[in-house]
């Protein structure tokens, strides 16, 4: 203690050492020694500490070994209370201040935790170590503390995780509960539904019970009625029995009377004298007897009548029952009859109404037909003309397009090439110049006309040939050669191809020769255009259709085919089977109209896809022209009507139906015949025209 200085110690009169815990022996030992010792010249006092509150007031707290478990608590409680804690072989280095140690049994050593002591505000001099103690390594303490902290943090984290998982469990179980509650609700609903169903079934049952009850009552009533009738029957049989008994009584009376009669007869025999008087009396008695007999028979009759009446009533009851049934049946039957009759009546009304409506519609349709008839004659010609116009337009515009662009190209290419020529030739030596000229000559002289497919093939071959020399450019160069109509044997031009100015050379050659190619295109295209125009001119030439001239029908047919080329090329294979035909007398325009009409019909029937065969034959007295197509044919049902004016199988707007009518009239004017045969897949229209002179 001499090495420790407490704060404020100058004010204290003595130092107090507290012994923590109830350790009497230790206390006495300390006490006995304390009198002899002094610290910093001040006496010592020993106290027993029973609580930490007391401990805070003393200067030194001595912690016996058995209290080491509480060391951490005590030291943390005593923090900042200026108390020196002396512990005995404590293990917790971080909590101690001065700790006695027993490295072996021979001697005592001690450790100092300087930082803890200083933390308390106590000063400790370094000489304390001379007493033979060690300082506790603060660093390790710090590390241990850190480690403990980490451990406690880990524990906290663990516990937090446990908390979280437990909360999740709780949530899950809550959800399960909720689900179960829902299920229970659902089941309750089901049960209430079923209860309702049961109730409704119960009420139904009640109703049925009531009905049954009513029926029972009815039955009972009927039983009662029957019983009544039975009773009446019984009564009547009883009456009959009574009357039988009465009869028996009467019979016994008769027997007794007969006995008395016999007696009287005996008396009569005794009294023959009194016979006359007695005879009267007897006859009188006989009369009486007879009267009584008739009464008896009368009563027998009555009884029989009553019996008959009883049976009658029985049969009456039966017949009444039958009548009841029959009348019920007839009633139902009558009801059914009535409903049937009523329905029939309603239907009749409906159909009547519909018929009236149809009548009106038909009448209206007839009116419209009559009105449109007058317009049809004009539109027939316009319709076929209109179709031709669009076809002709296309036929003319196609060559025109080629001509225009070729002409444009010639003009622009001339400009560029002529300008470039002088400087171009200067750049080439004599050899190359002549090669260049030869290249152009070769291009111009080649007159092969190839299809695009063939051209593609040649280009591919040429490209492969040139690839080793030209690699990526082989394709383009091959294309240029092919465009210039040079398809093979290009070795002579290799020097040109290897010249640094190769691109300019080829371009010039291409453009110069191109002028010739463009001119050729213009030539071809104008031929085509003029052909179409000629055909149109021939078709619509305002010949008087009544003037007959010398006509070559083959030309007319060709004209029509040209005009319809646009439709034909969509997929019709035209086969011309023409013999030499003489000219005939006729009207070219009119006959062209006939060919137009037949070809038009044939193409329409085939929908521009199929085979059209035209046969021209010279026969003995006439020429024949046959148009055969492989369309679906004319149905038998309409074959007899196709020459009728306005008869058509086409949809409204597609044809007027007077084409064949007009054709037939034209052929008749030529004194010829227009015939046809048709079956599915083969339809033949045949025109016979006499030579005419």
């Amino acid at each position: 203690m001499g090495y420790i200085t407490w704060p404020e110690e100058k004010l204290t009169s003595h130092y107090i050492i507290g012994i923590y815990g109830d350790y009497d022996e230790l206390f006495r030992e300390f006490n006995s020694v304390s009198h002899t010792l002094s610290v910093h010249g001040k006496p010592l006092q020993i106290k027993k500490l029973r609580s930490l509150a007391q401990a805070k007031k003393v200067h030194v707290v001595v912690l016996p070994k058995s209290e080491n478990l509480h060391l951490k608590e005590i030291s943390s409680e005593l923090l900042k209370s200026g108390v020196l804690l002396i512990s005995d072989d404590a293990t917790n280095d971080s909590a101690v201040m001065i700790n006695f140690r027993y490295p072996d049994k021979e001697y005592i050593s001690f450790e100092i935790n300087r930082s803890n002591i200083i933390y308390e505000g106590l000063k400790v001099s370094k000489e304390i170590l001379l007493l033979g103690g060690t300082e506790i390594d603060v660093a390790t303490i710090y590390k241990e503390t850190e480690f403990e902290l980490k451990e406690s943090k880990d524990r906290i984290v663990e516990q937090k995780q446990k908390l979280v998982s437990q909360q999740q469990d709780i949530n899950r179980k809550k959800q399960e509960l909720a689900i179960q509650k829902k299920e229970i609700l659902q089941k309750k609903n089901k049960i209430s539904l079923q209860n309702k169903q049961i109730k409704s079934a119960a009420t139904e049952l009640e109703l049925k019970n009531k009905q049954l009850f009513k029926k029972d009552n009815l039955l009972l009533e009927k039983e009662l009625l029957i019983k009544e009738k039975e009773n009446r029957l019984l009564k009547q049989t009883r009456k009959v029995a009574e009357k039988e008994q009465a009869l028996k009584v009467l019979e016994s009376n008769i027997a007794s009377i007969k006995l008395s009669l016999n007696e009287r007869e005996a008396i009569l025999q005794r009294k023959q004298k009194e016979i006359a008087v007695l005879e009267i009396g007897i006859t009188q008695n006989i009369d009486v007897l007879e009267l009584q007999k008739t009464e008896i028979t009368h009563q027998k009759l009555l009884i029989e009548a009553q019996q008959a009446r009883v049976t009658e009533q029985g049969s009456k009851i039966q017949s009444q029952q039958i009548l009841l049934y029959v009348s019920a049946a007839t009633l139902i039957f009558i009801l059914i009859l009535i409903t049937i009759i009523y329905r029939g009546y309603r239907q009749k009304q409906k159909s009547n109404f519909q018929l009236e409506q149809k009548n009106q519609e038909l009448y209206d349709a007839l009116e419209t037909l009559r009105q449109t008839q007058s317009q049809l004659v004009q539109s027939e010609k316009m319709a076929s003309l209109g179709q031709l116009v669009s076809s002709v337009a296309h036929e003319v515009n196609t060559p025109l397009g080629a001509i225009k662009s070729s002409a444009d190209s010639i003009l622009s290419d001339l400009k560029t090439t002529l300008g470039a020529l002088p400087s171009f030739f200067d750049g080439l030596n004599v050899e190359l110049r002549s090669l260049f000229i030869q290249l152009m000559e070769r291009s111009l002289e080649n007159r092969e006309y190839l299809s695009s497919k063939e051209e593609r093939e040649y280009r591919r071959q040429l490209s492969n040939e040139l690839e080793p020399l030209l690699q990526d450019e082989a394709d383009d160069i091959a294309d240029i050669f092919v465009d210039m109509h040079i398809y093979r044997d290009v070795e002579p031009w290799l020097p040109l191809l290897q010249h640094p100015k190769r691109d300019a050379i080829l371009k010039l050659a291409y453009k110069l020769t191109g002028i010739e190619r463009n001119a050729a295109v213009i030539d071809i295209a104008s031929d085509k255009a003029s052909k179409v125009v000629l055909a149109l001119k021939t078709y619509s030439h305002p010949d008087q259709s009544s003037t007959f001239t010398r006509v070559q029908v083959r030309d007319g047919i060709e004209t029509v085919l040209t005009l319809y080329n646009n439709f034909i090329k969509q997929g019709v294979e035209v086969t011309r089977d023409f013999e030499e035909l003489p000219e005939i007398m006729g009207s070219e325009e009119a006959l062209n109209q006939v060919w137009t009409n037949i070809v038009h019909n044939a193409l329409q029937a085939m929908q521009n896809k199929g085979q059209l065969t035209i046969r021209c034959r010279k026969e003995t007295a006439h020429i024949s022209v046959e148009f055969e197509d492989n369309g679906p044919g004319i149905p038998l049902s309409v074959q007899s009507r196709i020459f009728e004016p306005f008869f058509t199988t086409k949809a409204s707007g597609e044809g007027t139906g007077i084409g064949l009518d007009i054709s037939q009239k034209i052929v008749e004017k030529h004194a010829g015949k227009l015939l046809f045969t048709s079956e599915p897949g083969k339809t033949v229209f045949r025109v016979e025209l006499p030579f005419g002179e």
Binding site: S390, T398, S409, A525
Partner: protein, 134 residues
Amino acid sequence: MKPVILCVDDESIILKTLKRQLKDLYGNQLRYEIAESGEEAMSVIEELSTEDAKVMVIVSDWMMPGMSGATFLRKVHEQFPDIGLIILTGQADDAAIESAKRESGVQHCIRKPWAQEQLSDAVNSVLAKMNGGG
């Protein structure tokens, strides 16, 4: 590989004219192919795709024998929707052209006879659309 422009028309004078005009306009930037029918054009497109060449633009006539222009363009649009389509026609059937634009993705219609500017305008705008991401 260079993009390919394909011209289809049954008249060879038209094909030659078109190819020359396009070559004048685009030189080595494009590769030029021609076909005389819809069927030939389809086989050209397929051949080229095996060579890894891409047909970008087609200029096609409207009325052709065999496969009609309408059918051909529709087929192309179905199988190769990326190819730009231009019609070249000598007929002015507005309704059919409108429906072709709607149903077959045709982008331009050039009428015969045509000026070179019309052709270049149409092809340029089709190419621009493709490079600009349509």
